[in-house]
């Protein structure tokens, strides 16, 4: 059954290839095919979720056993991210009824195919290829508004991203020259013991920096603000919510399986905490809502990185919780902010003109901040607990301080929203229409999650346990094929 999960990657590609031709006959309906495909993907994933169960599965592509061919590794964590990606993509799908270039749908489909490939793949170079696929699709998508600023932002994004990709490729070249393999399970057998010296570290740094570009990791994240504020808001929501978390997922796999060394963890902790602090302070000084959200996104990614860099089960659990929370919440916030593309001071009295939207915004932002009993609180609590358990007290204090800064600018925003003084008529902003439905759905999912909190915690713990189990990963991928070398000679 789980073999059919390969269709997750293949069908979007197939539809993307065919869509420019099909669209001539379907006309305005062509956008609908993508939504149908995503629905089918959800069914596929739901079907496979039960069959995966406790033991992870592996798909051999081309029928070649693990170190030779490409494999897809399927466990609960990957499935979870695939499901969330599908749901968010379905909600954000640009289903306009008229005047949409069919090529926009094509780029969305290709971006999704890249996301699925990156999530599921268990092969270093294959991850690189799909990562490039989603990167190139996102370059096309961020320049869709066709304004001069979006072109410049897109160009800078492309340059940074391509630089990162070159670094990642350099890292892969290093790893390949030392080990002669690119299969992650195979490398997990070799690298931790045999490459535990300066070259292993340099490969790790190159890979982390390379894949960190999309993960909004500290030194390579200065594209975030300009791209997020100039791109189409649905694209921004997808990039900030889903793609950055997928990149973090790759980094998690790397540090768990390939580079489980304390120095790398410390390095990531450092990058993460700098990201949190820089992000929160930049958000504090931001002049408009979109930039504020973009910088807070950097800070949130930093939190996830910190949690993962604890590299304990509790840390991984906290990281997954934070990632899921942010993945559901940030798209909603960006969609709400899509009409407020102006200076913050223009938002005064927003609650008067659009009370529901601002109430939703406040609730979501409070959850982002981590106010009990909203879901964000539980995720942040897990992070603090895991930091406590690892005795990273300084980090804990810094995270709390950053939270205070976050609280400062968010509450300033709320005060503005509920100000009595009303804006003059022509400057008033109203939020309504299509953007609101995905937002309501997303907040509904988040708030419903609260009712199933214990259940959710249990499954998270189980996923974290499965993720940190290196033996299981290696055995699943390589276990049944030890004889392949002799078999063919």
């Amino acid at each position: 059954m789980q073999d059919s999960l390969i269709l997750l990657v293949v069908l979007p590609l197939l539809l993307a290839f065919l869509l420019p031709v099909i669209a001539r006959y379907l006309g305005n309906l062509s956008g609908l095919t993508g939504s149908l495909l995503l629905l089918f993907n959800i069914l596929l994933l739901a079907n496979a979720w039960n069959s995966v169960g406790y033991s992870p599965k592996v798909i051999l592509l081309g029928g070649f056993a693990a170190p030779l061919g490409i494999v897809f590794y399927i466990d609960k964590l990957n499935m979870l991210f695939a499901i969330l990606t599908t749901i968010i993509a379905l909600l954000l799908w640009p289903c306009r009824t008229h005047n949409t270039d069919v090529r926009e749908y094509v780029l969305w489909l290709l971006l999704l195919a890249g996301c699925y490939g990156v999530i599921l793949s268990g092969d270093l170079f294959n991850i690189y290829v799909f990562y490039e696929l989603l990167a190139v699709a996102s370059y096309g998508l961020v320049t869709l508004p066709a304004t001069g600023a979006s072109y410049i932002a897109g160009f800078r994004y492309l340059m940074i991203s391509a630089l990162g990709s070159a670094f990642a490729l350099l890292g892969i070249a290093l790893i390949y020259s030392f080990t002669g393999s690119v299969n992650i399970a195979h490398l997990a057998q070799i690298i931790p013991d045999h490459l535990h010296h300066i070259w292993g570290y340099s490969a790790a740094l190159l890979l982390i920096i390379g894949f960190g570009v999309k993960a909004e990791l500290f030194p390579v994240n200065f594209w975030v603000a300009e791209v997020y504020s100039h791109a189409d808001k649905r694209v921004t929501a997808l990039l900030a919510g889903v793609v950055s978390k997928i990149a973090v997922l790759i980094i998690l796999r790397f540090i768990i399986l390939l580079f489980p060394w304390q120095d790398i963890f410390n390095f990531l902790l450092l990058l993460g905490i700098i990201g949190v602090i820089v992000g929160e302070f930049a958000a504090f000084y931001a002049q408009d809502l979109l930039r504020l959200l973009a910088f807070s996104s950097i800070a949130q990614s930093g939190l996830v990185i910190i949690a993962f860099a604890c590299a304990t089960e509790a840390g991984i659990m906290a990281g997954i919780a934070l990632a899921i929370h942010h993945l559901l919440l940030k798209p909603a916030l960006f969609l709400l902010a899509s009409h407020c593309d102006r200076s913050i001071n223009d938002l005064a009295g927003l609650a008067k003109s659009s009370p529901w939207a601002s109430a939703l915004f406040v609730i979501l932002a409070l959850s982002l901040l981590g106010v009990p009993p909203l879901p964000g609180f539980w995720a942040k609590l897990l992070l603090l607990q895991s930091l406590m358990a690892e005795q990273y007290l300084l980090l804990l204090v810094l995270v709390l301080l950053a939270t205070i800064v976050e609280a400062a600018y968010l509450f300033r925003l709320f005060m503005l929203f509920y100000q009595r003084q009303e804006m003059p008529e022509q400057k008033r902003i109203t939020i309504q229409g299509q953007e609101l439905y995905p937002v309501i759905t997303l907040s509904g999912i988040l708030l419903l999650g609260l009712f199933f909190l214990p259940l959710f915690m249990d499954s998270l713990r189980e996923i974290a346990m499965q993720t940190s189990n290196i033996e299981a990963y290696i055995n699943t991928v390589l276990g049944k094929v030890q004889h392949i070398g002799e078999g063919n000679i």
Binding site: F125, V136, A149, Y176, S177
Partner: protein, 144 residues
């Protein structure tokens, strides 16, 4: 003198030199040049340097190119003896992929360069950055 002779006659040394030179010059082109087009050219150099390293990763001494040439010789053992002396085909396949990806990315970057030039009439990154900030500022304070 003998030591230097050894180093300079070593194939290894020259391959390292060229890949490092391409990577460093490429990074210089991307990071320090003001002209957008020059950045794209720098990207090409960087990718080329990395590709050399990747091909080098599969190279074997005294090995042959990974193609079975004696087609008439259908004896499996002979073929296996031949393939055992071949260089590693996997990095070559990966470099093939990387070259095509790099070409696609560069073409995309160039199309952006054309668009930027049409909009702003310049390709100087400092000027463009200022122009972008100005646009942003204008759009923030619209309707004032």
């Amino acid at each position: 003198m003998m030591i230097w002779d050894d180093i300079f006659l070593e194939v290894d040394f020259w391959i390292n030199i060229v890949s490092i030179a391409l990577i460093v010059i490429g990074i210089y082109g991307i990071v320090f040049s003001q002209h957008l087009l020059r950045m794209v050219f720098g990207l090409g150099l960087l990718e080329a340097g990395v590709n050399i390293l990747l091909v080098k990763a599969g190279y074997q001494k005294e090995a042959i190119a990974p193609i079975v040439t004696q087609a008439s010789d259908t004896m499996m053992s002979n073929i296996l003896a031949a393939t055992a002396q071949m260089v590693d085909p996997v990095p070559q396949a990966m470099v093939l992929t990387a070259i095509v990806i790099a070409a696609g990315v560069q073409a995309l970057a160039l199309s952006l360069v054309i668009r930027i030039y049409k909009k702003y009439g310049t390709l100087d990154s400092h000027v463009l950055f200022l122009a972008m900030e100005r646009d942003r500022h204008l759009s923030l304070n619209q309707k004032d």
